[in-house]
Symmetry: C2
Subunit: 280 residues, 2 copies
Amino acid sequence: MCASKVAEGKQRGWIIPIGGAEEKENAPQILNRFVQLAGGRQADIVVIPTASQMRSTGPRYERIFGELGAARVTALDFDTRRDCDEPGRLERLQQATGIFFTGGNQLRLGTLIGGTPIAKAVRVMNAAGVPVAGTSAGAAFISEHMIAFGDEGSTPIAGSVRLAAGLGLTNRFIIDQHFRQRDRLGRLLTALAYNPFAVGIGLDEDTAAFIAPDNTVHVEGSGGITVVDAAEVQFSSMDTVNEGRPVCLLGVKLHILTQGATFNLHTRLADAGVLHEPKR
Amino acid sequence: MCASKVAEGKQRGWIIPIGGAEEKENAPQILNRFVQLAGGRQADIVVIPTASQMRSTGPRYERIFGELGAARVTALDFDTRRDCDEPGRLERLQQATGIFFTGGNQLRLGTLIGGTPIAKAVRVMNAAGVPVAGTSAGAAFISEHMIAFGDEGSTPIAGSVRLAAGLGLTNRFIIDQHFRQRDRLGRLLTALAYNPFAVGIGLDEDTAAFIAPDNTVHVEGSGGITVVDAAEVQFSSMDTVNEGRPVCLLGVKLHILTQGATFNLHTRLADAGVLHEPKR
Protein backbone atom coordinates (compact mmCIF):
# COMPACT_ATOMS: atom_id res chain seq x y z
CA MET A 1 0.00 0.00 0.00
CA CYS A 2 2.59 2.53 -1.02
CA ALA A 3 1.48 6.02 -1.94
CA SER A 4 0.51 6.31 -5.60
CA LYS A 5 3.08 7.99 -7.79
CA VAL A 6 2.47 11.61 -8.59
CA ALA A 7 2.61 12.17 -12.34
CA GLU A 8 5.40 14.36 -13.65
CA GLY A 9 4.54 18.03 -13.56
CA LYS A 10 1.61 17.32 -11.22
CA GLN A 11 1.21 17.78 -7.48
CA ARG A 12 -0.54 15.46 -5.08
CA GLY A 13 -3.62 16.77 -3.31
CA TRP A 14 -3.74 18.12 0.22
CA ILE A 15 -3.86 15.56 3.04
CA ILE A 16 -5.90 16.77 5.98
CA PRO A 17 -5.98 14.76 9.19
CA ILE A 18 -8.31 16.29 11.82
CA GLY A 19 -8.04 15.52 15.56
CA GLY A 20 -11.73 14.77 16.00
CA ALA A 21 -14.57 16.77 17.57
CA GLU A 22 -14.11 19.55 15.02
CA GLU A 23 -16.53 22.45 15.18
CA LYS A 24 -19.46 21.59 12.91
CA GLU A 25 -22.15 24.20 13.31
CA ASN A 26 -20.80 27.56 14.37
CA ALA A 27 -18.30 28.89 11.79
CA PRO A 28 -16.64 25.52 11.19
CA GLN A 29 -13.28 26.80 9.93
CA ILE A 30 -11.66 23.40 9.43
CA LEU A 31 -14.53 21.93 7.40
CA ASN A 32 -14.89 25.17 5.50
CA ARG A 33 -11.21 25.25 4.52
CA PHE A 34 -11.56 21.66 3.29
CA VAL A 35 -14.56 22.64 1.12
CA GLN A 36 -12.58 25.56 -0.32
CA LEU A 37 -9.67 23.26 -1.21
CA ALA A 38 -12.14 20.87 -2.84
CA GLY A 39 -13.36 23.64 -5.13
CA GLY A 40 -15.66 25.83 -3.02
CA ARG A 41 -18.91 26.40 -4.94
CA GLN A 42 -17.74 23.81 -7.51
CA ALA A 43 -16.82 21.24 -4.88
CA ASP A 44 -18.05 17.68 -5.36
CA ILE A 45 -17.47 15.93 -2.06
CA VAL A 46 -17.70 12.24 -1.23
CA VAL A 47 -18.08 11.44 2.47
CA ILE A 48 -17.05 7.94 3.58
CA PRO A 49 -18.77 7.27 6.94
CA THR A 50 -17.65 3.64 7.14
CA ALA A 51 -15.73 4.08 10.41
CA SER A 52 -18.97 5.08 12.12
CA GLN A 53 -21.84 2.74 12.83
CA MET A 54 -24.28 5.56 13.37
CA ARG A 55 -26.70 5.98 10.46
CA SER A 56 -26.77 9.74 10.99
CA THR A 57 -23.05 10.32 10.40
CA GLY A 58 -23.11 10.41 6.59
CA PRO A 59 -26.22 12.59 6.25
CA ARG A 60 -24.92 14.99 8.88
CA TYR A 61 -21.75 15.72 6.90
CA GLU A 62 -23.81 15.88 3.69
CA ARG A 63 -25.83 18.69 5.27
CA ILE A 64 -22.79 20.52 6.69
CA PHE A 65 -20.76 20.46 3.46
CA GLY A 66 -23.88 21.50 1.55
CA GLU A 67 -24.39 24.46 3.85
CA LEU A 68 -20.75 25.41 3.38
CA GLY A 69 -21.46 25.79 -0.32
CA ALA A 70 -20.34 22.55 -1.95
CA ALA A 71 -22.11 21.95 -5.25
CA ARG A 72 -22.68 18.26 -4.58
CA VAL A 73 -22.12 15.99 -1.57
CA THR A 74 -22.70 12.23 -1.38
CA ALA A 75 -22.18 9.91 1.56
CA LEU A 76 -20.85 6.60 0.21
CA ASP A 77 -20.91 3.85 2.80
CA PHE A 78 -19.20 0.48 2.58
CA ASP A 79 -20.64 -2.12 4.93
CA THR A 80 -18.83 -5.06 3.39
CA ARG A 81 -15.65 -5.51 1.36
CA ARG A 82 -17.88 -6.54 -1.55
CA ASP A 83 -19.43 -3.04 -1.47
CA CYS A 84 -15.96 -1.77 -2.37
CA ASP A 85 -16.03 -3.72 -5.63
CA GLU A 86 -19.29 -2.18 -6.81
CA PRO A 87 -18.64 -0.23 -10.06
CA GLY A 88 -21.38 2.35 -9.34
CA ARG A 89 -19.87 3.45 -6.08
CA LEU A 90 -16.36 3.50 -7.51
CA GLU A 91 -17.58 5.64 -10.37
CA ARG A 92 -19.27 8.08 -7.97
CA LEU A 93 -16.09 8.27 -5.88
CA GLN A 94 -14.02 9.05 -8.97
CA GLN A 95 -16.09 12.15 -9.68
CA ALA A 96 -15.19 13.70 -6.36
CA THR A 97 -13.04 16.80 -6.00
CA GLY A 98 -12.69 16.13 -2.26
CA ILE A 99 -12.90 12.98 -0.11
CA PHE A 100 -13.75 12.96 3.60
CA PHE A 101 -13.45 10.06 6.06
CA THR A 102 -15.57 10.46 9.20
CA GLY A 103 -14.71 9.32 12.71
CA GLY A 104 -15.67 6.04 14.32
CA ASN A 105 -13.44 3.00 14.58
CA GLN A 106 -10.33 3.00 12.38
CA LEU A 107 -10.28 -0.80 12.37
CA ARG A 108 -13.52 -0.75 10.40
CA LEU A 109 -11.77 1.36 7.76
CA GLY A 110 -8.81 -0.98 7.57
CA THR A 111 -10.78 -4.19 7.51
CA LEU A 112 -13.55 -3.03 5.14
CA ILE A 113 -11.72 -0.74 2.72
CA GLY A 114 -8.04 -1.71 2.96
CA GLY A 115 -6.75 -3.38 -0.20
CA THR A 116 -9.94 -2.76 -2.21
CA PRO A 117 -10.43 -0.79 -5.46
CA ILE A 118 -11.88 2.02 -3.31
CA ALA A 119 -8.67 2.34 -1.30
CA LYS A 120 -6.63 2.28 -4.47
CA ALA A 121 -8.85 4.90 -6.12
CA VAL A 122 -8.45 7.25 -3.15
CA ARG A 123 -4.67 6.96 -3.38
CA VAL A 124 -4.67 7.53 -7.13
CA MET A 125 -7.03 10.50 -6.84
CA ASN A 126 -4.95 12.08 -4.06
CA ALA A 127 -1.80 11.62 -6.17
CA ALA A 128 -3.65 13.38 -9.00
CA GLY A 129 -4.52 16.40 -6.84
CA VAL A 130 -7.75 15.58 -4.98
CA PRO A 131 -7.69 16.64 -1.30
CA VAL A 132 -8.39 13.88 1.20
CA ALA A 133 -9.46 14.67 4.78
CA GLY A 134 -10.29 12.44 7.72
CA THR A 135 -11.36 13.17 11.25
CA SER A 136 -10.55 11.09 14.33
CA ALA A 137 -10.51 7.45 13.13
CA GLY A 138 -10.51 8.83 9.58
CA ALA A 139 -7.36 10.80 10.38
CA ALA A 140 -5.60 7.77 11.85
CA PHE A 141 -6.42 5.75 8.72
CA ILE A 142 -5.02 7.94 5.98
CA SER A 143 -1.34 7.31 6.61
CA GLU A 144 0.62 4.13 5.77
CA HIS A 145 1.15 3.26 9.43
CA MET A 146 -1.97 3.61 11.54
CA ILE A 147 -2.24 3.53 15.32
CA ALA A 148 -4.94 0.88 15.78
CA PHE A 149 -5.17 1.25 19.53
CA GLY A 150 -3.06 1.95 22.58
CA ASP A 151 -2.87 3.12 26.15
CA GLU A 152 -3.06 6.60 27.60
CA GLY A 153 -0.17 8.37 29.32
CA SER A 154 2.62 10.73 28.40
CA THR A 155 5.65 8.41 28.57
CA PRO A 156 6.39 5.51 26.21
CA ILE A 157 5.72 1.98 27.47
CA ALA A 158 6.67 -1.11 25.47
CA GLY A 159 3.55 -2.72 24.05
CA SER A 160 1.39 0.36 24.71
CA VAL A 161 0.54 0.81 21.04
CA ARG A 162 -0.58 -1.44 18.20
CA LEU A 163 0.19 -0.39 14.68
CA ALA A 164 -1.66 -1.57 11.62
CA ALA A 165 -1.49 -0.78 7.93
CA GLY A 166 -3.54 2.24 6.96
CA LEU A 167 -4.74 3.68 3.66
CA GLY A 168 -1.23 4.74 2.70
CA LEU A 169 -1.56 8.21 1.20
CA THR A 170 1.92 8.79 2.63
CA ASN A 171 4.35 7.12 4.99
CA ARG A 172 6.00 10.35 6.08
CA PHE A 173 3.99 10.64 9.28
CA ILE A 174 2.00 8.72 11.86
CA ILE A 175 -1.14 10.41 13.12
CA ASP A 176 -2.64 10.35 16.58
CA GLN A 177 -5.85 12.20 17.34
CA HIS A 178 -7.79 13.45 20.40
CA PHE A 179 -4.20 14.06 21.42
CA ARG A 180 -4.29 16.32 24.41
CA GLN A 181 -7.75 15.20 25.46
CA ARG A 182 -6.74 11.53 25.71
CA ASP A 183 -3.08 11.96 26.64
CA ARG A 184 -1.53 10.05 23.83
CA LEU A 185 2.05 11.29 23.64
CA GLY A 186 3.35 8.07 25.19
CA ARG A 187 1.80 5.82 22.59
CA LEU A 188 2.93 8.07 19.73
CA LEU A 189 6.48 8.02 21.12
CA THR A 190 6.24 4.25 21.42
CA ALA A 191 5.16 3.98 17.79
CA LEU A 192 8.15 6.07 16.70
CA ALA A 193 10.56 4.22 18.99
CA TYR A 194 10.14 1.15 16.77
CA ASN A 195 11.39 3.05 13.77
CA PRO A 196 12.06 6.77 13.91
CA PHE A 197 11.84 7.39 10.16
CA ALA A 198 8.34 8.85 10.31
CA VAL A 199 7.24 12.08 11.94
CA GLY A 200 4.61 11.80 14.68
CA ILE A 201 1.69 14.20 14.38
CA GLY A 202 -0.51 14.47 17.47
CA LEU A 203 -3.71 16.37 16.77
CA ASP A 204 -5.74 18.01 19.51
CA GLU A 205 -9.49 17.98 19.08
CA ASP A 206 -10.95 20.66 16.80
CA THR A 207 -7.52 20.97 15.20
CA ALA A 208 -6.38 19.90 11.75
CA ALA A 209 -3.08 19.51 9.95
CA PHE A 210 -3.49 20.85 6.43
CA ILE A 211 -0.59 19.15 4.70
CA ALA A 212 0.19 20.92 1.47
CA PRO A 213 1.37 19.21 -1.73
CA ASP A 214 4.89 20.43 -0.84
CA ASN A 215 4.68 18.57 2.50
CA THR A 216 4.35 21.66 4.67
CA VAL A 217 2.04 21.14 7.65
CA HIS A 218 -0.27 24.10 8.35
CA VAL A 219 -2.42 24.31 11.49
CA GLU A 220 -6.12 25.09 11.49
CA GLY A 221 -8.38 25.07 14.54
CA SER A 222 -8.55 25.90 18.21
CA GLY A 223 -5.98 23.46 19.59
CA GLY A 224 -2.37 22.56 18.99
CA ILE A 225 -0.46 20.03 16.93
CA THR A 226 2.37 18.16 18.60
CA VAL A 227 5.06 17.25 16.09
CA VAL A 228 7.39 14.51 17.31
CA ASP A 229 10.60 14.28 15.29
CA ALA A 230 12.60 11.21 16.19
CA ALA A 231 15.05 11.47 13.29
CA GLU A 232 17.93 12.42 15.57
CA VAL A 233 17.12 9.99 18.34
CA GLN A 234 20.46 8.92 19.80
CA PHE A 235 19.16 5.85 21.60
CA SER A 236 16.01 3.71 21.83
CA SER A 237 15.73 0.68 24.12
CA MET A 238 12.70 -0.60 22.22
CA ASP A 239 14.54 -3.69 20.98
CA THR A 240 15.37 -4.98 24.45
CA VAL A 241 12.70 -3.69 26.82
CA ASN A 242 9.97 -5.98 28.11
CA GLU A 243 6.25 -5.43 27.50
CA GLY A 244 4.72 -3.04 29.98
CA ARG A 245 8.05 -1.45 30.92
CA PRO A 246 9.05 2.14 30.13
CA VAL A 247 11.13 2.71 27.01
CA CYS A 248 14.38 4.67 27.16
CA LEU A 249 14.35 7.16 24.30
CA LEU A 250 16.96 9.90 24.06
CA GLY A 251 17.00 12.94 21.82
CA VAL A 252 13.44 13.33 20.58
CA LYS A 253 12.56 16.74 19.17
CA LEU A 254 9.19 18.20 19.98
CA HIS A 255 7.30 21.13 18.45
CA ILE A 256 3.89 22.31 19.50
CA LEU A 257 2.33 24.18 16.60
CA THR A 258 -0.65 26.49 16.89
CA GLN A 259 -2.49 28.26 14.12
CA GLY A 260 -0.06 30.15 11.89
CA ALA A 261 2.89 27.89 12.62
CA THR A 262 4.18 25.38 10.06
CA PHE A 263 6.36 22.29 9.91
CA ASN A 264 8.08 21.03 6.79
CA LEU A 265 8.04 17.24 6.56
CA HIS A 266 11.02 17.31 4.14
CA THR A 267 13.42 19.56 5.98
CA ARG A 268 11.87 18.83 9.40
CA LEU A 269 12.04 22.52 10.24
CA ALA A 270 9.32 24.24 12.25
CA ASP A 271 8.40 27.86 11.73
CA ALA A 272 6.24 30.07 13.92
CA GLY A 273 5.01 31.85 10.78
CA VAL A 274 2.85 34.90 11.33
CA LEU A 275 3.24 34.40 15.08
CA HIS A 276 6.65 36.02 14.52
CA GLU A 277 5.09 39.29 13.48
CA PRO A 278 3.61 41.13 16.44
CA LYS A 279 2.04 43.85 14.26
CA ARG A 280 -0.17 41.55 12.31
CA MET B 1 15.96 31.72 48.20
CA CYS B 2 19.04 31.03 46.16
CA ALA B 3 20.93 27.79 46.67
CA SER B 4 23.51 28.02 49.44
CA LYS B 5 27.08 28.35 48.28
CA VAL B 6 29.12 25.19 48.31
CA ALA B 7 32.37 25.73 50.22
CA GLU B 8 35.60 25.51 48.25
CA GLY B 9 36.86 21.97 47.92
CA LYS B 10 33.46 20.63 49.06
CA GLN B 11 30.60 19.08 47.12
CA ARG B 12 26.93 19.62 47.69
CA GLY B 13 24.87 16.64 48.76
CA TRP B 14 22.70 14.53 46.46
CA ILE B 15 19.27 15.91 45.59
CA ILE B 16 16.67 13.19 45.19
CA PRO B 17 13.20 14.02 43.90
CA ILE B 18 10.89 10.98 43.82
CA GLY B 19 7.75 10.78 41.67
CA GLY B 20 5.47 9.61 44.49
CA ALA B 21 4.00 6.18 45.28
CA GLU B 22 7.48 4.71 45.69
CA GLU B 23 7.68 1.08 46.77
CA LYS B 24 7.83 1.05 50.57
CA GLU B 25 7.57 -2.53 51.81
CA ASN B 26 8.90 -5.01 49.29
CA ALA B 27 12.59 -4.32 48.50
CA PRO B 28 12.18 -0.53 48.37
CA GLN B 29 15.15 0.26 46.15
CA ILE B 30 14.65 4.03 46.03
CA LEU B 31 14.34 4.47 49.78
CA ASN B 32 17.19 2.04 50.35
CA ARG B 33 19.53 3.94 48.03
CA PHE B 34 18.68 7.12 49.91
CA VAL B 35 19.54 5.46 53.24
CA GLN B 36 22.86 4.28 51.80
CA LEU B 37 23.70 7.81 50.60
CA ALA B 38 22.82 9.11 54.08
CA GLY B 39 25.37 6.81 55.64
CA GLY B 40 23.80 3.34 55.68
CA ARG B 41 24.17 1.85 59.18
CA GLN B 42 25.47 5.23 60.39
CA ALA B 43 22.60 7.17 58.81
CA ASP B 44 20.80 9.74 60.95
CA ILE B 45 17.68 10.65 59.03
CA VAL B 46 15.20 13.46 59.68
CA VAL B 47 11.79 12.99 58.04
CA ILE B 48 9.73 16.14 57.47
CA PRO B 49 6.08 15.05 57.06
CA THR B 50 4.70 18.61 56.98
CA ALA B 51 3.16 18.27 53.49
CA SER B 52 0.94 15.50 54.79
CA GLN B 53 -1.90 15.96 57.22
CA MET B 54 -2.04 12.30 58.13
CA ARG B 55 -0.58 11.60 61.57
CA SER B 56 0.71 8.23 60.38
CA THR B 57 3.02 9.60 57.66
CA GLY B 58 6.00 10.48 59.85
CA PRO B 59 5.95 7.29 61.96
CA ARG B 60 5.61 5.17 58.81
CA TYR B 61 8.81 6.52 57.28
CA GLU B 62 10.53 6.28 60.69
CA ARG B 63 9.76 2.57 60.66
CA ILE B 64 10.77 2.03 57.01
CA PHE B 65 14.12 3.84 57.28
CA GLY B 66 14.78 2.02 60.56
CA GLU B 67 14.14 -1.32 58.90
CA LEU B 68 16.48 -0.32 56.08
CA GLY B 69 19.25 -0.03 58.68
CA ALA B 70 19.46 3.67 59.53
CA ALA B 71 21.02 4.20 62.95
CA ARG B 72 18.54 6.92 63.92
CA VAL B 73 15.36 8.31 62.36
CA THR B 74 13.22 11.19 63.65
CA ALA B 75 10.07 12.63 62.14
CA LEU B 76 10.12 16.40 62.71
CA ASP B 77 6.80 18.05 61.96
CA PHE B 78 6.13 21.76 61.59
CA ASP B 79 2.49 22.69 62.04
CA THR B 80 3.09 26.43 62.22
CA ARG B 81 5.79 28.79 61.03
CA ARG B 82 6.62 29.40 64.68
CA ASP B 83 7.53 25.70 64.98
CA CYS B 84 10.29 26.44 62.47
CA ASP B 85 11.88 28.91 64.89
CA GLU B 86 12.15 26.40 67.72
CA PRO B 87 15.84 25.89 68.59
CA GLY B 88 15.34 22.26 69.67
CA ARG B 89 13.96 21.15 66.31
CA LEU B 90 16.56 23.12 64.39
CA GLU B 91 19.27 21.46 66.45
CA ARG B 92 17.85 18.01 65.79
CA LEU B 93 17.66 18.77 62.06
CA GLN B 94 21.28 19.85 62.00
CA GLN B 95 22.41 16.45 63.29
CA ALA B 96 20.92 14.70 60.27
CA THR B 97 23.01 12.98 57.62
CA GLY B 98 19.93 12.73 55.36
CA ILE B 99 16.71 14.75 55.09
CA PHE B 100 13.45 13.40 53.63
CA PHE B 101 10.32 15.37 52.72
CA THR B 102 7.15 13.24 52.48
CA GLY B 103 4.27 13.72 50.08
CA GLY B 104 1.06 15.63 50.73
CA ASN B 105 0.39 19.17 49.60
CA GLN B 106 3.42 21.15 48.43
CA LEU B 107 1.69 24.42 49.35
CA ARG B 108 1.88 23.39 53.00
CA LEU B 109 5.64 23.08 52.61
CA GLY B 110 5.94 26.51 51.00
CA THR B 111 3.66 28.33 53.39
CA LEU B 112 4.87 26.68 56.61
CA ILE B 113 8.60 26.20 56.00
CA GLY B 114 9.50 28.67 53.23
CA GLY B 115 11.74 31.49 54.44
CA THR B 116 12.25 30.02 57.95
CA PRO B 117 15.48 28.96 59.70
CA ILE B 118 14.50 25.35 58.89
CA ALA B 119 14.44 26.02 55.14
CA LYS B 120 17.76 27.84 55.38
CA ALA B 121 19.30 25.03 57.40
CA VAL B 122 18.26 22.42 54.80
CA ARG B 123 19.91 24.50 52.04
CA VAL B 124 23.09 24.98 54.07
CA MET B 125 23.23 21.30 54.98
CA ASN B 126 22.70 20.20 51.38
CA ALA B 127 25.43 22.58 50.24
CA ALA B 128 27.69 20.96 52.87
CA GLY B 129 27.05 17.47 51.54
CA VAL B 130 23.86 16.17 53.22
CA PRO B 131 21.53 14.36 50.79
CA VAL B 132 17.99 15.72 50.60
CA ALA B 133 15.13 13.64 49.19
CA GLY B 134 11.46 14.39 48.69
CA THR B 135 8.59 12.35 47.31
CA SER B 136 5.57 13.70 45.43
CA ALA B 137 4.83 17.12 47.01
CA GLY B 138 8.22 16.86 48.71
CA ALA B 139 9.86 16.45 45.29
CA ALA B 140 8.05 19.46 43.83
CA PHE B 141 9.19 21.59 46.78
CA ILE B 142 12.94 21.08 46.70
CA SER B 143 13.70 23.17 43.62
CA GLU B 144 13.70 26.96 43.39
CA HIS B 145 10.68 27.02 41.09
CA MET B 146 7.88 24.75 42.24
CA ILE B 147 4.80 23.71 40.32
CA ALA B 148 2.07 24.58 42.81
CA PHE B 149 -0.79 23.19 40.74
CA GLY B 150 -1.93 22.82 37.17
CA ASP B 151 -4.06 20.99 34.66
CA GLU B 152 -3.64 17.56 33.09
CA GLY B 153 -2.93 16.95 29.41
CA SER B 154 0.07 16.51 27.17
CA THR B 155 0.15 19.83 25.30
CA PRO B 156 0.93 23.24 26.82
CA ILE B 157 -1.97 25.60 27.51
CA ALA B 158 -1.46 29.17 28.70
CA GLY B 159 -2.44 29.43 32.35
CA SER B 160 -2.41 25.67 32.87
CA VAL B 161 0.28 25.83 35.52
CA ARG B 162 0.94 27.94 38.60
CA LEU B 163 4.49 28.31 39.75
CA ALA B 164 5.52 29.26 43.26
CA ALA B 165 8.85 29.62 45.03
CA GLY B 166 10.13 26.36 46.44
CA LEU B 167 12.87 25.44 48.90
CA GLY B 168 15.59 26.41 46.46
CA LEU B 169 18.23 23.69 46.69
CA THR B 170 18.85 24.45 43.01
CA ASN B 171 17.26 26.37 40.17
CA ARG B 172 18.62 24.10 37.46
CA PHE B 173 15.43 22.12 37.12
CA ILE B 174 11.69 22.16 37.67
CA ILE B 175 10.18 18.94 38.98
CA ASP B 176 6.83 17.41 38.17
CA GLN B 177 5.75 14.16 39.78
CA HIS B 178 3.12 11.41 39.21
CA PHE B 179 4.13 12.30 35.68
CA ARG B 180 2.81 9.56 33.46
CA GLN B 181 0.02 8.64 35.84
CA ARG B 182 -1.46 12.17 35.82
CA ASP B 183 -0.41 13.26 32.32
CA ARG B 184 1.54 16.32 33.22
CA LEU B 185 3.77 16.97 30.22
CA GLY B 186 1.62 19.92 29.13
CA ARG B 187 1.94 21.76 32.40
CA LEU B 188 5.68 21.12 32.59
CA LEU B 189 6.09 22.44 29.03
CA THR B 190 4.00 25.46 29.99
CA ALA B 191 6.23 26.13 33.00
CA LEU B 192 9.31 26.01 30.76
CA ALA B 193 7.69 28.11 28.04
CA TYR B 194 7.81 31.08 30.41
CA ASN B 195 11.55 30.81 30.68
CA PRO B 196 13.45 27.94 29.14
CA PHE B 197 16.56 28.29 31.32
CA ALA B 198 15.64 25.39 33.59
CA VAL B 199 15.42 21.70 32.70
CA GLY B 200 12.05 20.04 33.25
CA ILE B 201 12.16 16.73 35.09
CA GLY B 202 8.96 14.68 34.95
CA LEU B 203 9.02 11.77 37.37
CA ASP B 204 6.79 8.74 36.96
CA GLU B 205 5.52 7.13 40.14
CA ASP B 206 7.93 4.76 41.92
CA THR B 207 10.78 6.50 40.09
CA ALA B 208 13.44 8.82 41.45
CA ALA B 209 16.04 11.15 40.01
CA PHE B 210 19.23 10.72 42.01
CA ILE B 211 21.01 13.95 41.17
CA ALA B 212 24.68 13.65 42.00
CA PRO B 213 26.86 16.46 43.33
CA ASP B 214 28.24 16.83 39.78
CA ASN B 215 24.68 17.45 38.49
CA THR B 216 24.30 14.12 36.71
CA VAL B 217 20.76 12.73 36.93
CA HIS B 218 20.62 8.97 37.59
CA VAL B 219 17.37 6.99 37.40
CA GLU B 220 16.18 4.62 40.09
CA GLY B 221 12.84 2.80 40.12
CA SER B 222 10.31 1.07 37.94
CA GLY B 223 9.17 3.98 35.73
CA GLY B 224 10.74 6.58 33.49
CA ILE B 225 11.98 10.13 33.83
CA THR B 226 11.01 12.60 31.13
CA VAL B 227 13.67 15.25 30.70
CA VAL B 228 12.45 18.35 28.88
CA ASP B 229 15.26 20.54 27.61
CA ALA B 230 13.99 23.85 26.32
CA ALA B 231 17.40 25.49 26.01
CA GLU B 232 17.32 25.45 22.23
CA VAL B 233 13.69 26.45 21.85
CA GLN B 234 13.46 28.53 18.70
CA PHE B 235 10.09 30.08 19.45
CA SER B 236 7.58 30.36 22.30
CA SER B 237 4.27 32.23 21.99
CA MET B 238 3.87 32.39 25.75
CA ASP B 239 4.19 36.18 25.84
CA THR B 240 1.24 36.76 23.52
CA VAL B 241 -1.13 33.84 23.90
CA ASN B 242 -4.36 34.17 25.86
CA GLU B 243 -5.22 32.16 28.96
CA GLY B 244 -6.67 28.76 28.12
CA ARG B 245 -5.24 28.72 24.60
CA PRO B 246 -2.54 26.36 23.35
CA VAL B 247 1.03 27.63 23.38
CA CYS B 248 3.20 27.44 20.26
CA LEU B 249 6.56 26.03 21.32
CA LEU B 250 9.11 25.00 18.71
CA GLY B 251 12.30 22.99 19.21
CA VAL B 252 11.91 21.32 22.59
CA LYS B 253 14.22 18.38 23.23
CA LEU B 254 12.85 15.36 25.01
CA HIS B 255 14.60 12.40 26.63
CA ILE B 256 12.89 9.54 28.37
CA LEU B 257 15.33 7.97 30.79
CA THR B 258 14.92 4.56 32.36
CA GLN B 259 17.12 2.92 34.96
CA GLY B 260 20.77 3.01 33.87
CA ALA B 261 20.39 6.12 31.71
CA THR B 262 21.77 9.49 32.82
CA PHE B 263 21.37 13.15 31.98
CA ASN B 264 23.94 15.82 32.75
CA LEU B 265 22.33 19.09 33.86
CA HIS B 266 25.50 21.03 32.94
CA THR B 267 26.14 19.75 29.44
CA ARG B 268 22.49 18.79 28.86
CA LEU B 269 23.63 15.51 27.32
CA ALA B 270 21.71 12.27 27.83
CA ASP B 271 23.40 8.90 27.95
CA ALA B 272 21.82 5.47 27.81
CA GLY B 273 24.55 4.21 30.14
CA VAL B 274 24.62 0.48 30.79
CA LEU B 275 21.65 0.14 28.45
CA HIS B 276 24.30 0.43 25.74
CA GLU B 277 25.85 -2.85 26.76
CA PRO B 278 23.69 -5.80 25.78
CA LYS B 279 25.89 -8.27 27.67
CA ARG B 280 25.38 -6.76 31.09
